[in-house]
């Protein structure tokens, strides 16, 4: 079955540095991959989508890469700010019906 793995340990970085989060998956070749941000007690919020034929996608301080050979996506936040502190989830649509399977998320803490 499909397995999605994200860094289970929290990532602590200093304000201004670049945060890099990893998402690895097995047993599937998704057409696209999505990244969400979730704050405590709130619903996930969509950030970025990257398709299998795209190597990289950018949106303001966010950058996502997608390596279908390695079965891995990297999520970067440049010039990080304390307000970026949250849990970041990667998600795959295995059936092209919109049903997303989520990774367990990586909690990012940006210290001032």
């Amino acid at each position: 079955s499909q397995k999605i793995e994200q860094n289970s340990e929290a990532l602590n970085i200093q304000e201004g540095k670049t945060a890099t989060l990893t998402c690895n998956y097995t047993n599937y070749s998704p057409a696209y991959l999505q990244w969400y941000r979730q704050d405590p007690g709130r619903g996930p919020v969509f950030l970025l989508l990257i398709r299998e034929n795209e190597k990289e996608k950018r949106k303001e301080r966010l950058k996502v890469t997608f390596d279908t050979t390695l079965k891995q996506s990297l999520f970067h936040i440049t010039a990080s700010q304390p307000a970026d502190s949250a849990t970041y989830l990667c998600a795959l649509d295995m059936s092209n019906t919109g049903k997303l399977i989520f990774g367990q998320g990586t909690t990012l803490q940006v210290k001032p």
Binding site: R42, G43, F102
Partner: protein
């Protein structure tokens, strides 16, 4: 812009009771999804509806049922509640015709079973 609205925000029930959670999707969105998120866990897909018909089913217990109504709002009915049902329940909506459309989540209903 209008977002996904869920009610109630918090719900406390006792074991063996019944609960009904409601979801109002973003206007014009044709697909609704229900997810369950336990403490420290990732959201787990329960069930989805497209144009008021069930389109996909995940790890939803037989004690739970859901439907989507003519006005596109959806309800998740949970019976014979167990302590393990305590979780955050999220509803999300999307527009299927929008290619690779992201899901728009509500802020969830926190269900506590005592």
């Amino acid at each position: 812009a209008a977002g996904v609205i869920q009610s109630p925000r918090h719900l406390i029930k006792e074991k063996r009771e019944t609960a009904t959670l409601k979801c109002y999707p973003i206007p014009r969105h044709d697909t609704v999804y229900w997810y369950q998120q336990g403490p420290g866990q990732d959201p787990q897909f329960l069930i989805s509806f497209y144009e008021k018909m069930q389109s996909d089913k995940g790890s939803i217990p037989d004690r739970f049922s859901a439907q989507q109504f003519s006005d596109y709002h959806s309800e998740l009915n949970m019976s014979s509640l167990e302590l393990g049902d305590s979780a955050l329940y999220f509803c999300a909506s999307s527009l299927r015709t929008e290619r690779n459309s992201p899901l728009h989540f509500g802020n969830g209903t926190r269900l506590t079973v005592t």
